[in-house]
């Protein structure tokens, strides 16, 4: 069965079942690309660039747009090399099945780890450069001149010698017939005119006008709607349900078991499905974790703080010996809870299944992973499946590594072959079945010499491993490298200090709560552990927190530079306004270097975060305005987590069910954020996640300056700041 999407903007018909379904930007073009993969594609210059006769430049974007701006940033990189007119640029997603069919010409579709731009910048720029060369060559061929004598700018090709000129749209068809060249030199970033500029996002207008379609908005002709309930107890199963009780309720079509742990009601409308599901008698088999509590998990995790079975992640010298021989020591234990992604758009997917084909419409951070999940659930080879990606109403990692919602949608759709079914989770279902930010504790121990310098530092992490929970085959001889973000010996998450003796080790304790990658991942709590503790040590040594940090940054000039930048901008060392207190933090994460200085006040026990100055050195800045937006947005997320974010466990399940019990910060709580974008060149760091890590520790260090209180367990809402 073929699917047709009627696309108004582009004025062509892509695919049939959904005729009349209008899509804007980011439309999926599976059938179109798939067909042309074999027959040739008249206006495709190469995989990355399509140029239409009306000069419209369509840039293909493999990564998913979830608010982070990758659609615009990646398009800027292609357009920079293409030398097209940015005003003519639009974008589209190639589909995952087409990517596989065409030998992964668009490479990875994975959108996470702040990797969208830094992982693909080289080949997307090469794609733009190759397309430009082909267009120039086509013009040169038509004129009978050497291509090297021709230039291109803003989509116009000129030959100075003859005074001739033409446009990309006019030569696109001829260019598309040429071989795709390789080895075209790329521009030096200092010569960028489109990339590096604070261009407006390509998707803003559609979002503001409501034209933007999200997965939860999808309506297909004849579509049924499904509501699902999965056993709320960790690793629990479905024991029984009594479909007869609800089968005559309005709109109800089917009551179906989904896998071994869930039941869904399929109805004409979603509210009918949800209402019937609420009325459906369901018995759960809670299994061995049916009585699990937060207290039991805490005890299990905390036992690891002094356990002997820790796995080493980074060691320099002999930290334990240095601490034992130290003139003085400082020790502190920190605790960080489970947290939820709480995407604004709950999990959802729409599936259409027949015996020989399965199609899925969904928001996903990784189209190919969604395709794989769909194919497995459908019992079909991936070649007989397709996934149409939609912009995400929030991803934050939840829609990256676990496509449980896609699998469920396909399993439900198998009960109604040939009829599309949209599965939409309730908020409560979403809260109960997250891939939670892992729970950890940290025991920090520092040894100091007589001069108050750190001679040895031991970071003992106790707690959950994301890789062990999600993909144990990625462990490195039992070690989860992701646990050591901001603590690693080298790489994207290298420790951003030099200590004469250092040990970071991990006593892995994995409770039966599914972990996941949560924006910033372990950088969030590891930066709190490190940066709050460094502040504690500075205080114990009687040293200024800035000077103390700088004394350990001799080998980390980029970290020193971002820290200096925020200190200067915030006026560190100068008197703050009455009642205002400052705190600092710095680290490296996702290949970037970050620092923040927070200004807060505490009145009658109420914390007010006034301002955070944050600096990001991501090497290159493809769109500085988007970096600012990412930093600001990440602070809403990170500060919400610090202030309120906590999932607790009782009776083997997550207790929080909605935003009343899992709040996020309100607009009046949001500080002014001053972002310093300071790309130092020579490397490509991430942007979407890293800076989140320095917001919370900067605020907490300012809180200590204000109150003398060291908050070491989170969220902050549990602490009385008035005493």
């Amino acid at each position: 069965m073929k699917t047709t999407l009627d696309v108004t903007r582009r004025g062509f018909v892509v695919g049939g079942a959904s005729a009349g379904f209008m899509l804007g930007m980011g439309l999926p073009l599976g059938d179109r690309l798939g067909a042309h993969a074999q027959t040739g594609f008249p206006d495709e210059i190469n995989a990355w660039v399509v140029i239409q006769p009306d000069e419209t430049v369509v840039i293909r974007i493999a990564r998913s747009e979830m608010g982070q701006g990758t659609l615009t940033g990646l398009a800027q990189l292609v357009a920079e090399e293409l030398e097209c007119d940015w005003a003519n640029v639009t974008t589209e997603y190639p589909t995952p099945a087409t990517n596989l069919e065409r030998g992964r010409v668009w490479q990875s579709m994975s959108t996470g780890g702040s990797r969208g731009i830094r992982e693909s910048e080289q080949y997307v720029r090469e794609g733009g450069a190759a397309a430009r060369q082909m267009l120039i060559q086509a013009a040169a061929d038509a004129w009978g001149v050497d291509a090297s004598e021709c230039t291109a700018a803003k989509g116009v090709i000129s030959h100075e010698g003859s005074g001739q000129s033409t446009t990309y749209g006019q030569v696109a068809e001829a260019a598309a017939k040429l071989e795709v060249p390789s080895g075209i030199p790329l521009k030096d970033p200092k010569d960028w005119t489109i990339a590096g500029q604070p261009l407006k996002r390509l998707d803003t207008r559609d979002k503001l006008t409501g034209k933007q379609i999200y997965g939860a908005d999808i309506k297909l002709p004849g579509m049924l709607n499904a509501a699902i309930r999965q056993c709320p107890i960790f690793e629990g199963k479905l024991a029984s349900f009594d479909a007869a009780e609800v089968k005559n309720m309005p709109g109800v079509k089917h009551v179906v078991q989904v896998g071994d742990d869930a039941v869904a009601v399929v109805a004409e409308r979603w509210w009918q499905a949800k209402t019937a599901l609420d009325a459906l008698p369901i018995e759960w088999d809670g299994g061995e974790h049916a009585n699990l509590t937060s207290a039991e998990i805490a005890a299990f995790v905390e036992e690891g703080l002094d356990a002997e079975d820790a796995i080493t992640g980074n060691t320099v010298g002999d930290a334990k010996a240095a601490i034992a021989a130290a003139a003085s020591t400082v020790e502190a234990v920190y605790a960080y809870p489970f947290q939820h992604h709480a995407t604004m758009e709950p999990m959802n997917a729409t599936a259409l299944w027949t015996e020989d084909r399965c199609e899925v419409w969904c928001p996903t951070q990784n189209g190919e992973a969604a395709l794989a999940a769909a194919a497995e659930a459908a019992g079909l080879p991936p070649q007989q499946c397709e996934v149409y990606k939609y912009h995400l109403g929030g991803g934050f990692g939840r829609r990256g590594a676990v496509h449980d919602y896609v699998r469920q949608a396909v399993l439900i759709a198998q009960n109604v072959p040939g009829t599309p079914v949209k599965l939409l989770w309730t908020r409560e279902e979403d809260m109960a079945h997250g891939a939670y930010h892992p729970i950890t504790r940290a025991k920090m121990t520092a040894g100091l010499n007589e001069a108050g310098e750190i001679t040895g530092l031991h970071v003992r992490i106790a707690g959950q491993s994301i890789l062990a929970g999600l993909m144990p085959q990625r462990l490195q001889d039992g070690m989860d490298p992701v646990t050591f973000q901001c603590l690693a010996a080298e790489g994207d998450h290298a420790l951003a200090y030099t200590f004469p003796n250092f040990l970071a080790d991990h006593a892995m304790r994995n409770p039966p709560v599914r972990p996941g990658f949560w924006r910033g991942v372990n950088a969030n709590q590891n930066a709190i552990y490190m940066e709050c503790f460094i502040d504690e040590v500075a205080h114990a040594a009687g040293k200024d927190p800035l000077d103390f940090r700088m004394s350990m940054l001799g080998n980390h000039p980029k970290n020193a530079a971002v820290l200096k930048a925020v200190a200067e901008r915030a006026g560190w060392g100068t008197p703050a306004p009455d009642g205002i207190f400052r705190g600092l933090a710095q680290c490296s994460a996702f290949g970037s270097h970050l620092a923040a200085c927070a200004e807060i006040s505490v009145t009658d026990g109420n914390l007010k975060i006034h301002r955070i100055v944050a600096a990001t050195d991501s090497g290159h800045a493809v769109n500085p305005q988007q970096i600012e937006a990412q930093v600001e947005g990440s602070f809403v997320y990170g500060l919400s987590a610090m202030l309120y974010g906590e999932c607790t466990v009782a009776d083997g399940r997550i207790e929080q069910a909605n935003f009343d019990t899992y709040p996020v910060m309100h607009i009046d709580e949001m500080p002014e954020v001053e972002t310093i974008v300071m790309p130092s060149g020579g490397f490509w760091g991430g942007v979407g996640e890293p800076t989140i890590a320095v917001a919370a520790p900067a605020v907490l260090n300012a809180l200590f300056a204000a109150t003398g209180k060291r908050v070491r367990s989170f969220p902050l809402k549990h602490h009385d700041l008035s005493a």
């Binding site: 995952p96 596989l100 992964r104 990875s108 579709m109 994975s110 959108t111 996470g112 780890g113 990797r115 992982e119 796995i311 080493t312 992640g313 980074n314 060691t315 951070q365 990784n366 190919e368 992973a369 969604a370 395709l371 794989a372 999940a373 194919a375 497995e376 080879p381 991936p382 070649q383 990692g397 990256g400 590594a401 496509h403 994301i466 890789l467 999600l470 993909m471 144990p472 085959q473 990625r474 462990l475 490195q476 001889d477 039992g478 070690m479 490298p481 992701v482 050591f484 973000q485 690693a488 010996a489 080298e490 790489g491 994207d492 998450h493 996941g516 990658f517 991942v521």
Partner: protein, 149 residues
């Protein structure tokens, strides 16, 4: 005595570790070395063996895999063994199934674990001493902080 585990941990600690990507330590060369050991350097033909494995796997933790071999499965002509080899897993030889004529058909279905995107080889060892193979590329998608996809 230094255990393999301790040695690896020590090496990792001294040399640091690359946070990404993944754990895979086998290589195409190691796979070929294992293949040569299994075949005792006999030639390997392509055909008779059908490896059915998804071209893309969401995780790699459990990838459903079927190997079927064309064979009458008689005393005179049968499949002795089916091996599954990986080019990019910690261990190259994932699996061996032994057959006799009494097996009736030469077909095995199992779940294998893949540490990342790689080529998977199904190798069949026949009673006449010949070897046959089929190879498939598998994309293992990994999202978020780790990326192997």
């Amino acid at each position: 005595m230094v255990s393999r585990r301790a040695a690896l941990l020590g090496a990792g600690a001294a040399g640091g570790f690359a946070l990404l990507p993944g754990t895979a330590s086998a290589t195409v060369e190691l796979r070929d070395q294992v293949l040569a050991e299994l075949t005792r350097v006999a030639p390997v033909d392509t055909g008779r063996v059908t490896l059915t494995i998804p071209g893309v796997a969401e995780n790699g933790l459990s990838v459903y895999t079927i190997v079927e071999v064309e064979s009458p499965m008689t005393e005179a002509d049968h499949v002795r063994a089916v091996h599954i080899l990986a080019a990019n897993n910690p261990i190259a030889r994932l699996f061996t199934a032994s057959f006799t004529p009494a097996s009736g058909i030469a077909r095995v279905a199992t779940n294998i674990r893949l540490g990342g995107s790689q080529e998977v080889t199904a190798l069949a060892e026949m009673s006449d001493g010949s070897f046959w193979q089929d190879r498939k590329q598998v994309v293992v998608t990994i999202a978020a902080c780790v990326d192997g996809g």
